[in-house]
Amino acid sequence: MGAQLRVYKRRIKSVTATKKITKAMEMIAASRVVKAQRKVTASTPYATELTRAVTAVGTGSNTNHPLTTEPETATRTAVLLLTSDRGLAGAFNSNAIKAAEKLTARLEAEGKEVEIYIVGRRGVAHYNFRERKIAEQWTGFTDEPTYADAKKVAGPLIEAIEKDSAEGGVDELHIVYTEFISMMTQSAVDGRLLPLSLEEVAEEAKPKGGEILPLYDFEPSAEDVLDALLPRYVESRIYNALLQSAASKHAATRRAMKSATDNAGDLINSLSRLANAARQAEITQEISEIVGGTAALADATAGSDK
């Protein structure tokens, strides 16, 4: 076998192996998307009921809670960025990080100091590489987040927002995550979690029936209920964001791996064509060598005959 042909054969073999791997990763990601989506659906009843309850307290009582009232001038804000632990998901992480950077720039332009909280190794690595300060970071659970993980993330954030901004606390809490719209579309979005604007929450709760909320009897009191309710509300929102982010990550991985598999297939095709041409060239050369050889031999014998 000629050297040229051998090189092509070797490359085809290695691309075939890569294709097998990417194909497997694609299928694993596809099954994980379904699982993650199911988790999002399973967590919806809790989130809906909680939103209803928050709306009920917010509209049914005139309590002033630090988590629902907007400070006159917000000076410090916290941004929670959700990324994934692992890459190979196309532009998934860079989109989320870009959205966070844009939000940070906007907040800083408004004269606010931004503290960044990050979930996922990719985001942490991005900020560490640029030697930027991270207030707090969590890694290791982005593929399959549980409610306990959401609690772990929410804890320090709630603590920070309850503290006065002069003592290192924050006035606002923003969250940046990747919303799972469909299998093909996921987009990085940012939203303000706290202080809660009750109108917005009420707007969200409304389409499910459009009924007027009744006057509730609070047990033990409206303030106490709100005190207990709001941290749970934040946790459930973070939990939902974590789940959506996980589903989006798997969908992005699936898409990236699908195009990698397709590309590997194309590469194998064109390499096989090149290998065929090389083989054909080799054969042609061999034939012409034989023909040339015989002709030379014939010439030589013809000469000795004379």
């Binding site: 988790k39 009843p45 909680l50 309850a53 009924e211 047990e219 033990p220 209920v225 749970r232």
Partner: protein, 124 residues
């Protein structure tokens, strides 16, 4: 037919139980509270403890609830809990072991959780 109320018992990551009931007894911060059909709209903070639901077909469903909320309006009762388990789902031996372990480790919250589970099973 006796009056009924619709009950939804949901945990953070799943819906645990839903159905029609005639009486629900739960423990709020200021004491046990019983809700029957037609109760005044109510929103309360739940303590860890067993929740008893008397279903409309005469049966009783008991669940261990670890913190959460109860809200009642329009004859619909929602029990929201971070963790909720039906008493049939609770593994008694495991809960007993957890209680022992929590006692020896002096882990108050784990001890409380295990205790709530066992109480829910006892009222089954």
């Amino acid at each position: 037919m006796a009056a009924e109320l619709h009950v939804e018992l949901v945990a953070a990551d799943r819906s645990v139980w839903s159905g029609e009931a005639t009486l629900v007894v739960a423990r709020t911060a200021s004491g046990d509270i019983g809700v029957m059909p037609g109760h005044q709209p109510l929103l309360g903070v739940l303590e860890s403890g067993p929740v008893m639901i008397r279903t409309s077909d005469g049966g009783t469903v008991v669940a261990a609830v670890h913190g959460g909320f109860v809200s009642f309006a329009d004859n619909k009762l929602s029990l929201l809990a971070e963790i909720a388990e039906l008493s049939d789902e609770i593994d008694v031996q495991r809960a007993e072991r957890a209680l022992e372990r929590a006692k020896s480790d002096a882990d108050a919250s784990a001890e409380r959780r295990a205790d709530v589970r066992l109480r829910a099973v006892a009222t089954r």
